[in-house]
């Protein structure tokens, strides 16, 4: 099962359309996408605009691979649950978000070897045709680095 998610920030039609097209051409029938509030109606994949957290969680865990926008919530979930994830960043220049932070996130996390990234639809298509090569590059525990939570704890209890 391929699980696609664009998160809660708004639609990301460029991602969904590319995957819909690929599914149609490749005959892949096991794709489910959360596409956000959009007028887009994909024709080759199952989809829902929004998913409540329990259903999102279930579909996420059931997936063999996750394809997503470069949102931190999704990326952190993939790292935590050891899901192979491929991300394509939203572009502010195309009106897909307010600033280019997804581009920054994607670049830096790819450079750290945490996730695989497709910078645009062309790269995405190339990766989709070799989807089994999307691998788990890194895993995290359920919490932030201990140095960070220790610093917060020390501050709260007045030991700065």
């Amino acid at each position: 099962m391929v699980f696609v998610t664009v998160g809660t920030d708004g639609p990301f039609d460029r991602l969904v359309q590319a995957i819909d097209l690929w599914a149609g051409q490749s005959g892949r029938t096991d794709v489910f996408a959360q596409i956000g509030r959009t007028s887009l109606r994909p024709s080759h994949i199952a989809y829902s605009q929004m998913l409540e957290p329990p259903e999102f969680h279930r579909r996420f865990l059931e997936a063999d691979v996750v394809i997503a926008h470069a949102g931190m919530g999704t990326i952190l979930s993939a790292l935590r649950y050891g899901k192979p994830i491929l991300v394509m960043p939203r572009r502010a220049s195309l009106g897909e978000q307010r600033n280019e932070h997804q581009l920054a996130t994607a670049r830096h996390l790819a450079a750290l070897g945490k996730i695989q990234v497709a910078m645009d639809e062309r790269e995405l298509r190339a990766r989709l045709d070799h989807l089994t090569e999307v691998a788990v590059l890194d895993r995290t525990g359920p919490y932030a680095s201990q140095s960070l939570t220790d610093a917060i704890q020390a501050f709260i209890h007045g030991r700065r």
Binding site: G7, L76, H101, T149, Q153
Partner: protein, 155 residues
């Protein structure tokens, strides 16, 4: 409280989505505290342990003055009612509002700028410098003398 406060009261507040996921990953930092969690969607309550204190705040961003105003009133009310010892936020706009008001109320504040801001601090994150008692970035290369400081990340 009968004889003084035993545990610290913390308001942990963030927008839904990635900001909320990051806030949850900081939980060991406020273990043992009396924590009120606040975010923009009721459905995220399912991420918390049963019995955790939780409240919903209006979603807003800087382009929507009316919603900003509504969030300001609700968050201000929560702070006056709760009187937390510390307010902690991972962003975005609602979190900034919370630490801004908290700062005025002389409540200590922590801003952890989102790990998504890998090349520059968010606008809220930059402004948070003036009202955060502890001002953090999650990227070493964005840390500066005098803040924001780097102490680790949610990754």
């Amino acid at each position: 409280m009968p004889s003084g406060r035993k545990c610290k009261r913390v308001l942990a507040i963030a927008s839904g989505g990635g900001h909320w996921v990051q806030l949850l990953r900081l939980r060991p930092g406020f273990a043992g505290c009396d924590v009120l969690f606040a975010t923009t969607r009721r459905s995220f309550q399912t991420d918390l342990d049963a019995g955790a204190r939780f409240t919903v705040i209006p979603d807003c961003n800087r382009n929507e003055p009316l919603r900003l105003g509504r969030a300001f009133v609700k968050i201000g009310w929560i702070l006056l009612r709760e009187r937390p010892d510390v307010v902690i936020s991972t962003g975005a706009a609602p979190g900034f509002i919370a630490i801004w008001i908290a700062h005025k109320l002389r409540i200590r504040t922590i801003w952890v700028d989102s790990v998504a801001n890998a090349e520059e601090l968010s606008l809220s994150g930059q402004r948070a410098g003036a009202c955060a008692s502890l001002w953090l970035t999650q990227w070493q290369h964005l840390a500066r003398e005098g803040g924001p400081y780097f102490r680790g990340s949610v990754l």
